[in-house]
Amino acid sequence: MKKFKMRWPALKMEVMCDGISENQEALDILVDNMPVKAIQGHEMVGGWMLRARAVHLQKVPFELEAAQMKNEKMKDAPIGRVSLLFPQGGTTELLVKYDACVDDRDYIPVAQVAEKDLEVLKKVGRLQWQSATRTKEIYHVEFMEVE
């Protein structure tokens, strides 16, 4: 299964993400597009989740049918879950659950942040929350395949 890294250069932090048994084809497409850079955002309703609202897939378009993919409610997902929302063609949203959340909407789970990196993920989450609600600091997130 494919692996990738999420890195936040301004924070000098990174986490490793491993594929999961679900939606492997979806993860393959995401990784085949890497490296990708995006603006990091935060979820404002569903709970403690990082949310990148525009992850551009410029090499390999996302052409899997929605019905082909397995959904999961974020509130039921483990902390560290990486999921896609409305992936299609050249764009997807990407969310990462870093602490408790109440979000009962469907997302497409594709990866899991490594156990050893969950504390780092939480730190990134808290800093992004500060950005969203106070400082407005702009953080880039980079996605890179790991061989």
Partner: protein, 172 residues
């Protein structure tokens, strides 16, 4: 009139420019509170309602594109119908977005509107896919600049909050 390839290329260029750098229209409206089309001026001269309606609509514009592309995959939608759906579903919120100051996205839609009837399905889908990418960038920057911290003044309340409040109000 541009060809669809020229329009798509222009939208893609703008998407690339605004993936890591702010969309200027969003900076104007959300960072500098400029009312470009007059939105908010008659409503007590405030920009909040422009943010609330215009900013929110952009996210849904991207979803309209998503829906049309999904439906276009089915055999039972003619090109005439897809053009109708595109005009019915996208034109009004896109135009409203322009009134709210998010001008470039409407310029793109107007150009698509001019050439749409002469396109094949795959060509319309290609342009909508690019348009959706650009709209997603606008959404990113709307969320970046929206003053979410204001929400700290409106914290979620629970039963205990109102029970205490009720006790305190008893003497009134």
């Amino acid at each position: 009139m541009k060809t669809w390839q020229e329009l798509k290329a222009e939208i893609d260029r703008e998407s690339l420019l605004t993936t890591l750098e702010p969309v200027q229209d969003v900076v104007d409206v959300f960072r500098y509170s400029i009312s470009k089309g007059g939105a908010g001026v008659p409503n007590d001269n405030q920009i909040f309602t422009t943010w609330f309606f215009g900013g929110a609509d952009v996210n849904y514009l991207a979803d309209w594109c998503y829906f049309i592309i999904e439906l276009a995959k089915k055999e039972n939608y003619s090109m005439e119908q897809l053009c109708q759906m595109t005009r019915f579903w996208i034109k009004q919120p896109s135009e409203f977005g322009s009134y709210c100051g998010l001008r470039k996205q409407y310029e793109f839609f107007q150009q698509l509107d001019e050439i749409m009837d002469g396109l094949e399905k795959s060509e319309l889908v290609a342009v909508l896919d690019s348009y959706r990418s650009y709209l997603s960038n606008i959404n990113v920057w709307v969320y970046q600049y929206m003053p979410w911290g204001v929400g700290r003044a409106f914290h979620r309340k629970d039963k205990a909050y109102y029970e205490v409040g009720r006790k305190l109000a008893e003497g009134i």
